[in-house]
């Protein structure tokens, strides 16, 4: 292996995925939206019509999860070759509970071959410690911006800290360089303040250095990311695999109705 030895500050990776089912009414195809972050910086984004038709949201979300997983593996390899250490598995966040649940359970049943393969691809990455998949509220899922045609109020909470945090900083610039451009600063400023008031967004560039808020990350400290995996797997004893003689102390979790989520 000729990869350099990882050195320096390590990064935490976060990826969001989402799918918009039946985006295209003529072909019936869905759209995948994915956003990758290194620490709190968005570094890659993806929004593309899926190449196959899915008959259920569950299917298209699974395809999105798979695409996301593959991109994460790619990105991790790139970072590896750049010699940048990575903090643990990549945090992969999606807003579809069924997908998140089934991806972390080894015996979910899939009735469609291609969905099953997507499921295995994600499940493999979870098992291999490449990703750590968790559920996040739809309103906090940044990939929403990349999967559907939104209107500003519905995504403003997420978009402001990502792209428009600099509102006050940029205005003097814009006025200086204006010269006949139609950019209606007042109009936009009004809109922004209205949205902020309505949705109670707090993004003020405060403190020194890197201390600015990040609504998602801030929220994540307070149970925004529910650990669905944890709750469904707590009773699962790893040694309940076939072939091992150790008997699980609890009941066989495969009989647990919760574990049948996603099968139908």
């Amino acid at each position: 292996m000729d990869a350099p030895k990882p050195k320096g500050k390590s990064v935490t990776m976060t990826s969001f995925f989402d799918a918009n089912h039946y985006h295209d009414l003529i072909s019936g195809k869905s759209v995948t939206g994915i956003l990758h972050q290194l620490n709190k910086t968005p570094i890659d984004w993806y929004s593309k019509l899926q190449s196959t038709v899915e008959t259920a949201t569950f299917g298209s979300e699974h395809i999105a999860a798979r695409t996301c997983t593959e991109q994460v593996i790619d990105l991790r390899l790139t970072l590896r070759y750049l010699g940048s250490p990575i903090n643990g598995p990549t945090m992969v966040l999606g807003d579809n509970e069924l997908v998140i649940n089934s991806a972390a359970i080894p015996h979910s049943k899939m009735y469609k071959r291609w969905v099953a393969l997507s499921y295995h691809r994600v499940g493999y990455a979870v098992a291999a410690g490449i990703i750590n998949i968790h559920h996040i509220a739809g309103k906090k899922n940044l990939a929403d911006i990349l999967s559907k045609h939104w209107d500003l109020p519905s995504v403003w909470n997420m978009m402001k800290p990502l792209l428009f945090w600099n509102w006050k900083l940029m205005v003097p610039h814009a006025e200086g360089a204006e010269e006949g451009s139609t950019i209606e600063q007042k109009d936009v400023a009004e809109l922004v303040s209205k949205l902020d008031a309505k949705y109670d967004v707090k993004v003020t560039a405060q403190g020194k250095g890197q201390k600015s808020n990040h609504s998602l990350i801030e929220g994540s400290d307070k149970d925004t990311i529910s650990s669905v995996i944890q709750s469904t797997n707590q009773s699962r004893v790893p040694s309940s695999r076939p072939g091992t003689t150790v008997h699980p102390k609890g009941k066989d979790t495969r009989l647990d109705p919760e574990h049948k989520m996603g099968t139908k």
Binding site: W45, M91, H149, I217
Partner: protein
């Protein structure tokens, strides 16, 4: 190291327009480029503008990048084509819009070319930071080969959105998100 790697590396660069160096000591790399490899550099310094993207430090001294000049350029280009500035909009496309259902008349060859070049410019804006318009632009990209008037109107709307929300800036936030309360579960299956 095997023999293949020990071979001297020869690189022929006819013309390289834009070099960006990320290093603790960029001057050292510049020095090697000039002295050892006889690069003729037209001017070096902190990155301000690279591949259509503006780079600057915000008031906290954190590196940020924004395709501001590029957006100004495409709006200027829009005005050159249509004679007016685009009508400002607050979203790239209306919610639940379905451009694939549009049945307006097909564009003539000239308008088709305009459509394609406008889309091309928008695709570059996405690459250099404005991912807020990505879904809209990729959806409209599908019609490049056979665009209709309605599709062109939608592209105009995206320009209107850009003119209003031209401040999209990505800040290089190097502080790590706190996931300490989220368990890292290891599986052995």
């Amino acid at each position: 190291m095997d023999a293949r790697q020990r071979r001297p590396l020869r690189t022929h660069c006819g013309n390289v327009d834009d070099l960006m160096i990320a290093s603790k000591d960029p001057e050292a790399i510049v020095k090697i480029l000039v002295e050892k490899y006889q690069f003729k550099l037209k001017g070096t310094g902190p990155t301000e503008f690279h591949l259509g993207c503006d780079f600057f430090s915000d008031e906290e001294g954190v590196l940020c990048y924004a395709p501001k000049k590029y957006i100004e350029k495409i709006l200027e280009n829009y005005r050159r084509i249509y004679g007016t500035w685009p009508k400002p909009a607050t979203s790239p496309l209306t919610t639940g819009d379905h451009p694939e259902l549009d049945t307006s008349e097909l564009l003539n060859e000239d308008d088709q070319k305009i459509y394609q070049s406008l889309i091309g410019a928008l695709q570059w804006v996405i690459q250099i930071g404005c991912f807020d318009i990505q879904t809209a632009v990729t959806t409209l990209s599908r019609f490049r080969a056979m665009p209709r008037q309605g599709h062109l109107d939608r592209v105009k709307r995206i320009h209107g959105y850009l003119s209003k929300m031209c401040h999209a800036t990505i800040k290089i936030r190097t502080d790590a998100p706190d996931y300490s309360n989220i368990p890292v579960k290891m599986y052995d299956w």
